[in-house]
Amino acid sequence: MSTAMTTGRAPGTRAYLQLGIIWALLLTVPAWLPMLGGYTAIAGRVLVFALAAMSFNMLLGFTGVMSFGHAAYFGLGAYGAGLTLKYVAASTPLAILAGTLLGGIAGTLFGLLLVRRRGVYFAMVTIAFGQVCFYIAYKWDSFTGGYDGLRGFLRAPIDLGFTKIDIAGNETLFYFFVLLVFGLAVGLQALILASPFGRTLLAIRENERRARFLGLPVERHIWLSFSISCFFTALAGTLYALLNNFADPLGLNYVMSGNIVMITVMGGMRTFWGPLVGAVLFVMLQDYVSSMTTNWMFFVGTVFVAVVLFFPRGLMGMLQKRSGA
């Protein structure tokens, strides 16, 4: 099964090759992207959405539970980071920490309420919570900036004591900063998924009743999985706020949740790297096609429908199947 290699158990040479290609491409983005007519800020956007979708995929692809409200944690991360930079201190690491904690803890607490729900009920309750967060950000004008969004903060250069890394003014440096955070986060995700705990999540996904009969505390594990997923999604949200120097309530909206689901499904929800491929496709489609036609949403939708109809395992899943992994 493809999951075996992607979660790190006895990875074959093919897995190393795949990993090598992905990282080689990511590390050399500033060199080749401008030649293809891209720009560095869009690569940052791809990484942010990829991280959000990969975190979401821990839940959907590896635990088998569908959340339709992940934008809530993404947006809370963004607001957490923005509010910290604006009101507390101009420190990028502090902003990331605060945003991640805000989104993650909110998800952890909320997870307690929803672990007993399954299927469509689980999804519905997650939407509801997402919309609650959206309306709080939307209505609390004096604190969050309301519908216009939170402005008036800038990502700060990172002070390492002996030297300053100017991620505020230098787009390329900022991309590498995002890539570093992305790398650490997905590395941690791979470790979690390869751990015994990760294996139990797969067991729950494949057959929840059987997992229960084997003595696994199913609810607690789903809760943990949800909570971990929220922490990582919030981390992606903080990076989004830093990327835009801006946080807006639409980042908390169910539309954003839908985008995260779409990215994951397009890329391949049973594969570890699938959401990254999905994010590349989604962001590129959105960016390039919308410059050419106002009907760009039609194309994004068409591609999505085509993927769901013809490659139900997503683009990455299809690639792996073709090559007989």
């Binding site: 401008p34 007519g37 891209g38 720009y39 560095t40 800020a41 869009i42 956007r45 939307y138 209505k139 004008d141 900036g145 309301g146 519908y147 216009d148 969004g149 402005r151 008036g152 800038l154 787009e171 989004y240 835009n244 120097n245 801006f246 807006d248 639409l250 980042g251 959105q286 960016d287 919308s290 410059s291 050419m292 036609t293 106002t294 009907n295 760009w296 949403m297 039609f298 194309f299 068409t302 085509a306 109809l309 013809f310």
Partner: protein, 418 residues
């Protein structure tokens, strides 16, 4: 897996159809290319999709026409102008991303946009950071040329404060001082209502009101509340599709017989899409096509009309037209495309009458970079003898300076880069 076999033939046709439709989309011209020399690149960001699309489309079609005309007359500084249009999709993140794209990849010389105040605001963050000259043709929220004003940003459309100040006096004079507000709950609506309230209470009036979500569709609860309050005037501050829904329901409830209706903006694009009964009330227009005594207006209207489907241009067409010509004038006065030089050149520059298309002498004033355009207060009515776009009668013209008050009072302090 048996499904897959059944799907194969359909998939072929499906893909072919997709490709065909796609090809058609791509073939239409979106970027206006001019000839020779390095073009002056202007990035134009507007919400061409989403709830403000009607307004954005007017701006964009006018921008295309204006640039085409400009290129016929030698472009900017003798160089052809290239217009790069991007859709912000009425989403702030997308708008910011598009601003980055235009500045970093396409290396545009200046940016225009956005109809959505929130996005305009966010884009200002990018343009001021990157030191790119920026004109906001049509985003109304006050802080853009108020407390958050920037050296590189100019605004063509009015502030909410200007619109509110211009219409309040007329409404009080004609109908009375007891008002009810229906206001969208975001920065634009809040500042607009606050400005109305300030002007109204200064005249000794009383008021009640409801703040509703920006894309509200059902106004029955609010309208019942308004009916019970028995105001002299109901102020509909909603925008876009929500405003239209509110107007329709207002008329359905028969309330148009009980109270006067008014507000700051009821744009031609919106008036066109409501039923005849809802084409009513006292409003401000930021520009109107029928100004018989003002030179050059008729020429402009006759020239642009064929390019926009034979209709009369709206205030949105005018905003894009003025913004682009202002950029040209600034570049020509500065003899440069340098953002700082252009911004210094445009501040306080009086626009010539063929650009201004207004009775007064107008300029982007130096204090807050806000265009001091005349404001037309008047009545909206169903199409009159002048054709389907004869929808408004100007009753009073308020000079922009009078409605806006002094620049210092807006809270704007422009700090120039060293």
């Amino acid at each position: 897996m048996t499904d897959r076999i059944r799907l194969t033939t359909r998939r072929r046709t499906f893909l072919a159809a997709t490709a065909a439709v796609g090809g058609l989309q791509l073939s239409s011209p979106f970027i206006i290319k001019a000839r020779g020399e390095t073009p002056v690149k202007i990035g134009f960001i507007d919400p061409i999709t989403g709830s403000l699309s009607a307004l954005a489309v007017s701006e964009v079609e006018s921008a295309k026409w204006t640039v085409a005309q400009m290129n016929k007359k030698g472009g900017i500084l003798g160089r052809p102008v290239e217009l790069l249009i991007e859709d912000s999709a009425n989403d702030t993140g997308t708008g910011v991303q598009k601003a980055h794209k235009l500045i970093e990849r396409d290396k545009v010389d200046m940016i225009m946009g956005d109809v959505n105040s929130g996005i305009a605001y966010a884009i200002m963050g990018v343009t001021s950071d990157k030191k790119v000259f920026h004109i906001v043709p049509g985003g109304h929220t006050d802080p853009i040329t108020g407390k958050d004003c920037k050296w590189n940003t100019f605004r063509t459309c009015n502030t909410t404060a200007m619109d509110a100040a211009a219409v309040t006096g007329e409404l009080v004079k004609r109908f009375g001082k007891k008002w009810f507000f229906i206001t969208p709950d975001y920065a634009y609506g809040q500042t607009l209502q606050a400005n109305f309230v300030k002007n109204l209470t200064a005249l000794g009036g009383t008021w009640q009101g409801d703040m509703l979500p920006i894309a509200n569709t059902d106004f029955s609860a609010t309208l019942i509340k308004a009916k019970a309050f028995k105001p002299d005037v109901l102020l509909n501050n909603m925008g876009g599709a929500a405003q239209i829904n509110c107007m329709k329901q207002f008329v359905q409830f028969g309330m148009n017989k009980e109270m006067a209706l008014g507000g700051a903006l009821f744009e031609i694009e919106s008036i066109r899409s409501v039923p005849k009964e809802a084409q009513t009330g006292w409003w401000t227009m930021e520009w109107y096509w029928n100004q018989p005594n003002v030179p050059h207006v008729k020429e402009f209207v006759d020239a642009i009309s064929p390019a926009i489907g034979g209709r009369k241009p709206t205030a949105r067409h005018w905003m894009a037209y003025v913004s682009l010509h202002a950029a040209r004038l600034a570049a020509e006065k500065a003899k440069s495309l340098d953002a700082v030089k252009m911004a210094h050149a445009l501040a306080g520059l009086e626009l010539p009458p063929e650009v201004a298309l207004m009775p007064g002498k107008i300029q982007y004033r130096a204090g807050d970079h806000q265009l001091m355009s005349d404001i037309f207060v008047g009545q909206v009515h169903p199409p009159g003898p002048g054709g389907p776009d004869d929808l408004f009668t100007i009753e009073a013209t308020v000079p922009g300076e009078k409605a806006a008050g002094p620049a210092e009072a807006t809270g704007c302090k422009i700090s120039w880069p060293s």
